[in-house]
Amino acid sequence: MLGYIMRRIGVSIMILFGSSFLVYNLAAYAGDPLGELRFSTDDNAKQQIIALTRELQLDVPPPLRYFLWLKGILGVFVGKLEMGMTRESSSVQGELAFAIPVTLRLVLVASVTALLLGLAFGIISALRQYSRFDYAMTFMAFVLFSLPIFWVAVLLKEFMAIQFNNFLSEPSIPLRWMFIFSCFTAVFWSSLFGGERKRFWSVFAGAFATNFVILWAIDFTDWYLHPGLGPILIGFLSVGIAMGVASISTGLTNIPARNAALTMAGLAVLWYYPAQWVFNNHGSYLVILLMLALIVGTGFICASLFSKIDRGPIARTAIITGVISGFLIFIDRVMQTWAPYRATDAVNGRPVPTYGQRKDQLVTDDFWLNNLDTIMHLILPTIALILISLAGWIRYTRGALLEVLNQDYIRTARAKGLNERTVITRHALRNTMLPLSSLFVGEFVGLIGGAVITERVFGWSGMGTLGIRAINSYDLNLLMGVTLLLSTLVVLGNLLADLVYSALDPRIRLVKE
């Protein structure tokens, strides 16, 4: 196996040589970095030309200059990576070091959310093949496939930022909109549940009424100005989550698992006020991670308290419940920051930004204000990226699951008398995940490359913006830095995808024996 990986890496390095040589020369011959200076009437233009030529070694022809650049890159093997200088004589590594975390933050959140949503929609769509929900999802996926991201971005800016901010200055939902919105959600839920006409309408009525009441309550209490969940709502939601997770993860007939999940939900409510104290006095990402570890530990303890056998699935159920309930408490804390955040001078009552990755005027040590600021700036670009990649996941998941459901082993599982939940979650879903897991790597890498437009539209200074700057100013070293990074990611991503696939699926052998 090690030999295989080494060989693949060797081939990848050769490929990277080739592609970087190609791009280097294409870029070098495509434009003249001194073009503007040559026509400049400025007195010191000549001096600038001489300085730039010396600094960027422009007197060397590009095919040869490539090897000078390559020498710096190969320094990575002796621990002295040198990617050259930009035109502004800052180092390319420094620029990349600033840009990479920005892009990663954007892409990571978006791709994980898109994956989870896409999986959920795709699975339901496949289980209800040829239902109304399935048709609606298919149509939605095609529409999303055809949307240009820059167009969506402008719409998002207008309706989710500008109009929403206007709405917040005089918040009230007209009765007409409550009605229309409730109708839409009711149609969504009733087509999700499916069934005959009677069930459709009863679900419709239930969802409509619930939605209408929630909207009315939100409007009545001005919830969008002082949002929050509070311990009571968190309690109800956690119990619901516990039952839901238990019914999907182990089935409600597994009494210990159900009890463990409910215990976790109860603990979440009990933990609400202590958590507030911790959040207020020691808010930081480290503390949040520690709390996550605490939840996982409690989950294991719960599982061992409730059962002596078969603890794995019980612990899993308890931990998933705990993590989601804990997340609710976190969300609640973030919501509590909303009112003070809106009141700050930097925000000035318009909390949804259309541009940039953080508000520079917002100078504060408060962890929660900074956190909310980051989240608010992430929202619009993340939604745009999710919309773009969601469609793919819905289609992949649906196709893969349908394929698996036609296999003989599914029929065998059913013939053994297993219940439908076990057949779907244990036999079908696990096999569906195999191709999807390797797709995720590729999709993630693709999204990093594709974030160029999103970054540009929303004014994030990530790698895409860096690349565009490099192209516009004919900055060869900078351009090559970005390109090399993207190509390396693609190569590594392909290798990782193959390895993941072979690790998960014993039928795939990468090494011929």
Partner: protein, 355 residues
């Protein structure tokens, strides 16, 4: 809630020999082409998309003057991109200028008017601009589709048919092409291509986007070349080229067509995105992405300048996607269409009549 509940099959369906009997019956004695055509035309969304796309193509292509070398075919629209008519001020909402005259209200001013989509800042007719942009986008889309399809098929079939060292080399070439970041490199070229023209840009993009198709075709060839009919052809004395292109390739035609439609749908988005960034089609030439990029800031005051180009991009991409989906269903032999209530009833009656 029964999330995992299975729908019970009606007893009549089981009696009548299941769904496969109905599905098999309808393809008896038909050629592949006939089956595919039948299945495609039953996919309602795909047929509608095909109709819509052909109408859009005809509409867009005939709207403006076409120049093919010395021949000039006049368009049916009164303005061209070069015309600069007077800006319209009267009855525009909120003090804006050049608002659209299109009215779908049958009681007041019904009809197109002088400038149905409005006018841009200097008064050029926006309908003509959008038509010109859509024409550019369509042209680029088809060039990319055909070029990428051609290269992908040739590379994929050679690689899959010969295997061994040829396959290894060609697949490394595919890996190589995939490491080239398309947007960045296309932008580098586009910055130059703005002077060279959109056709050059399209050709270049076509040279970059064939890799996925090549992999697909290769996989198809690898599995198909092991089948008996290939041995039979070889025994009958067929040459390699004949086996590859006459015997194996027709079996992969479904995948090819579907992939090419997907490439085309992606291509129109890539082109508009590049133009939006300013690296694709550049002024004074017009493209849909360029129009959106130019007028995105005037969305609040003059939204029509933003809606129309977007509408055309989405319509074209959506139609191509739906046609691709219809073709995929039509070509996929495993795919059985949904058995409707009417079919079930018919089958049941036939079974009863036979019994």
């Amino acid at each position: 809630m029964k999330l995992f509940g299975r729908r019970e099959k009606p007893i009549g369906e089981i009696l009548s020999g299941g769904e496969s009997a109905i599905a098999n019956k309808e393809v008896e004695g038909l050629s592949l082409g006939q089956i595919v055509r039948r299945r495609f035309f039953r996919h309602r969304a795909a047929v509608m998309a095909l109709f819509l796309l052909s109408s859009v193509i005809v509409f867009v292509m005939t709207a403006l003057e076409t120049k093919i070398g010395p021949i000039r075919i006049p368009g049916w629209w009164k303005w061209t991109v070069e015309d600069i008519p007077e800006l319209r001020f009267e009855d525009c909402p909120g003090g804006t200028i050049g608002c659209p005259t299109l009215s779908v209200n049958p009681f007041s001013n019904f009809g197109l008017g002088t400038h149905p989509f409005g006018q841009d800042d200097i008064g050029r007719d926006y309908f003509a601009l959008v038509m010109n942009g859509a024409r550019r986008s369509l042209m680029i889309m088809f060039i990319i589709g055909f070029l990428a399809g051609f290269i992908g098929v040739v590379v994929g079939s050679i690689s899959g048919f010969y295997g061994g060292i040829v396959d290894a080399v060609l697949m490394r070439l595919v890996d190589f092409m995939q490491t080239v970041p398309i947007i960045i490199v296309a932008a580098v070229i586009g910055k130059t291509a703005g002077r060279v023209g959109p056709v050059f840009l399209a050709l270049f993009l076509g040279l970059l986007t064939w890799t996925g198709l090549a992999r697909l075709i290769r996989a198809q060839f690898l599995s198909l070349r092991e089948l008996e009919f290939v041995d039979a052809a070889r025994v009958a004395g067929a040459s390699n080229a004949r086996i590859a292109f006459k015997h194996i390739l027709p079996n992969a035609i479904g995948q090819i067509i579907v992939s090419v439609t997907l490439i085309m749908a992606g291509a129109i988005l890539t082109e508009t995105a590049l133009s939006y960034l300013g690296f694709g089609v550049v002024a004074p030439d017009v493209s849909l992405g360029l129009l959106i990029s130019e007028f995105q800031t005037s969305f609040t005051t003059r939204p029509w300048l933003f809606w129309w180009p977007g509408f055309f991009i989405i319509t074209i991409a959506l139609c191509v996607n739906f046609i691709g989906d219809g073709l995929r269903d039509a070509f996929d032999p495993r795919q059985r269409r949904r058995i409707s209530k009417k079919d079930r009833l018919k089958a049941k009656i036939e079974v009863k009549a036979g019994a």
